[in-house]
């Protein structure tokens, strides 16, 4: 069985990331993005990708990366989820990076040091085995495109999928449910350079989306943990009817159920990260399980957090709404839970008919 715990190195990484994020972002800065989508968030990218060098976590040393793996990336994503950090780490340092690594393209070096950001130009709802290459025209809605430098565009040319690298594109912002991960309509411009064709291109895109799905689960776990912890603390201090609301048994039992969900989501996300890291044959199953489960847990955690905070949870001034919007968007991102369960059915030989 794989190691589902966190190593000391991973905990130390967590603590660096948490410290850095604490210095460069907070919920007020995230909330400001809803009124001013152009507010400057470059400090978050700089801190995560530049100062800590995390953009290169997945990239081997020979291409300027750290040569760590998916387990470490998962820890970073847990922390990004905990803070709803406005940073395209998953989009560039995981998804685009994985596509390039899969093709053994040295372009990955320009992403590894955080100097440039890459994006896989597909709708954010795409998942491995379920996406369509563009035949030209805008692709929408794409996450991670605003501020990106390198556009990896799955393109259909004469019936064959090509993965084309563009260095420029028209990027039209889209008002997003989750403004901390803003979406855009992307129309690549310029000639572009073909990185791969046919099966190789398809395999690179599928690998990128699979890695994204596997590791999005850790972002969802971090988010759900924040919701659970914040709500438990609130329940201990909020007094109604002369008692902390956390002493009411119905509240207690719901939080106990939520704890169970979060604990299970954590195990599922760890398993997905570990099997991805080791190239385990069970990785596709682990990813489908983690995405279908963690997506719903994150949404449930945010919804319970809002409800148990009562009226204050419905207000703009409390941070919960940022988590709810991220959780709901994450549920739709990279394949819905039902879609991943359908994929899983094929993997474990449980056909529909």
């Amino acid at each position: 069985m794989t190691d589902l715990l966190y190593s000391d190195v991973e905990e130390s990484l967590r603590s660096s990331v948490r410290g850095a994020l604490g210095r460069v972002t907070d919920s007020a800065r995230v909330a400001a993005l809803y009124d001013d989508p152009d507010a400057d968030t470059s400090a978050v990218w700089s801190a995560v990708a530049g100062d800590l060098g995390l953009a290169g976590l997945l990239v081997p040393g020979e291409w300027g990366g750290v040569g760590a793996g998916a387990r470490e990336v998962a820890v970073v994503l847990e922390e990004l989820g905990r803070t709803v950090a406005p940073v395209p780490f998953l989009e560039s340092a995981v998804i685009a990076t994985t596509a390039l690594l899969e093709l053994e393209s040295d372009v990955v070096a320009s992403l590894a040091d955080g100097g440039q950001r890459g994006v896989l130009v597909l709708p954010w709802s795409a998942r491995a085995g379920a996406w369509t290459a563009t035949e030209g025209g805008a692709v929408t809605p794409v996450a991670g495109a605003l501020g990106a430098d390198l556009f990896l565009v799955p393109t259909l040319v004469g019936g064959t999928v090509q993965l084309v690298l563009h260095e420029s594109a028209t990027v039209d912002p889209i008002t997003s449910l989750d403004m901390s991960r803003p979406l855009a309509a992307v129309t690549p411009t310029g000639e572009g350079r073909v990185l791969a064709k046919g099966d190789a291109a398809v395999a690179a895109v599928d690998a990128a989306l699979a890695a994204g799905a596997a590791l999005l689960a850790s972002e969802q776990v971090g988010l759900a943990q924040w919701c659970l912890e914040t709500t438990v603390e609130y329940a201990k201090t909020r007094v109604q009817f002369a008692r902390p609301i956390g002493s009411f048994q119905a509240i207690k039992h719901r939080l106990a159920d939520l704890y169970l969900e979060v604990a299970q989501a954590q195990a599922a996300a760890r398993y997905a990260a570990d099997t991805l890291a080791t190239g385990d044959a069970d990785a596709p199953v682990a990813q489908a399980v983690a995405q279908s489960y963690c997506s719903d847990v994150a949404v449930h955690a945010a919804e319970e957090a809002l409800q148990l905070h009562g009226g204050i949870g419905m207000t703009w001034e409390h941070a919960i709404h940022l988590y709810l919007k991220r959780a709901k968007s994450d549920q739709l991102a990279l394949g819905t839970p039902a879609a991943h369960r359908a994929d899983l059915a094929g993997l474990v030989d449980l056909p529909q008919h």
Binding site: T175, L177, Q240, Q307, G310, T315, W316, L324, A339, R341
Partner: protein, 389 residues
């Protein structure tokens, strides 16, 4: 004996509905006793049975007569008016009812507080008598329409040395008082549908107290009982959030998936049985068996609105990832369905909080419908100012 049909006919005969000024017409309607036929003569009514009001409303609607703006003045017409009739002095009734009905004066409600959410009687806003004027200080929240209101109904603590329910009094407040500070309260949808209202040395004449000093809880309960919980979302099948989803499913095969189909049908069945149960409850109420059962309907309505609006986003992920507009606007009345799918999802989260949380609804059902024992209440019998907070 008065025949309300004849009275309506007589009223209508006096006006050209094409050109009439709404305020003038509503004033005349009030004076004719057709505002609330069950109210006393001279106070907007005719001392008739309550159910005749339905006849009046129907005849006037058929004729296309101007109606009071319930969107803007639901608090005034739905809640303040019946409370004033039950507890107000003759002077209060004479002064307030007519302009309230004509919507020349819009009302809002100053009950909820940050510290008194589900614990409605835990109001901390203080009113201290100074001569014949009450000086009010405190903070209220979730006040819809406060920015447009001329009057407010207020519950404040006039005696902190007795148990919480016993120390409250009920007032009519002039919103033009310089001590009233209304600030928009933005919600997670981006809109500010409600306000916070800060009360700083607001002066309320004792003549504007409704009911006895210390009787505020009883008066407020009358008000809240008139905050009729809409049972379900109406009598039509596929009303509300489910209707939006089914329409999409029927018209757009691209959102259909066999994995989601049974879930869709389960929600269809859930909303249909809630509709039927709501209809059954209405039939029971009509034959005189009212009760706290409507709390259970509110519970079902909130669950369905929230779950189905979330499900709708999953059916069309690329649309669900987007939002129509985050611009902060102040709205006058609640819109649950009027905007995009993301708005509907977020706004529905309030359905299980506003008007009593789902947790409180479950308490009500378990104690008042099923007769289960109350939970432990450490503040029972303890003076308000000795309760730990």
């Amino acid at each position: 004996m008065t025949d309300v049909r004849a009275e309506v006919a007589a009223l209508l005969a006096r006006f050209d509905l094409e050109t009439v000024d709404p305020v003038e017409f509503l004033g005349a309607r009030f004076d004719a006793g057709l505002a609330w036929v069950h109210f006393p003569v001279g106070r907007g009514g005719l001392d008739r049975p309550r159910d005749e009001q339905q006849v009046v409303e129907q005849l006037l609607a058929e004729a296309g007569a101007p109606a009071p703006d319930l969107g803007r003045n639901s608090i005034g017409i739905g809640m303040a008016a019946p409370t004033l009739i039950a507890f107000g002095t003759p002077e209060q009734q004479d002064r307030y009812l007519r302009p309230l009905f004509t919507c020349e004066e819009i009302w809002c409600q100053l009950f909820s507080e940050p510290g008194a959410g589900s614990d409605l009687a835990g109001v901390a806003t203080k009113a201290v008598l100074d001569g014949d004027t009450w000086i009010v200080n405190g903070q209220k929240v979730w006040t819809s329409g406060a920015q447009n209101a001329q009057r407010a109904i207020l519950v404040a603590r006039t005696d902190p040395t007795v148990v919480k329910h016993a120390g409250l009094s009920y007032f009519v407040v002039d919103m033009a008082d310089p001590g009233v500070d209304v600030r928009p309260l933005r919600q997670i949808t981006g809109e500010a549908e409600f306000n916070e209202v800060f009360l700083n040395d607001v002066r309320v004449p004792d003549a504007d107290r409704v009911g006895a000093v210390g009787a505020g809880w009883r008066v407020a309960t009358t008000t809240l009982n008139n905050e009729r919980v809409a049972i379900g979302s109406g009598a039509e099948r596929e009303a509300g959030q489910i209707g939006i989803v089914t329409e999409r499913w029927r018209n757009d095969p691209s959102v259909r998936s066999s994995a989601e189909h049974d879930r869709l049908m389960s929600w269809w069945v859930e909303t249909e049985v809630t509709r039927l149960a709501g209809e059954r409850l209405r039939q029971q109420l009509a034959v005189g068996q009212p009760g706290p059962e409507s709390s259970a309907m509110k519970l079902a309505f909130a669950q369905q609105a929230q779950q189905i609006s979330g499900f709708a986003l999953e059916l069309d992920p690329d649309a669900g990832l987007q939002y129509d507009d985050w611009t902060m606007v102040r709205t006058v009345s609640a819109s649950f369905l009027g905007r995009g799918p993301g708005f509907r999802y977020l706004r529905a989260k309030g359905n299980s909080i506003e008007g009593g949380t789902s947790e409180i609804m479950r308490n009500v059902v378990s104690e008042r419908v099923l007769g289960l024992p109350a939970d432990h209440r450490p503040d029972k019998g303890v003076p308000f100012n000795e309760v730990p907070r």
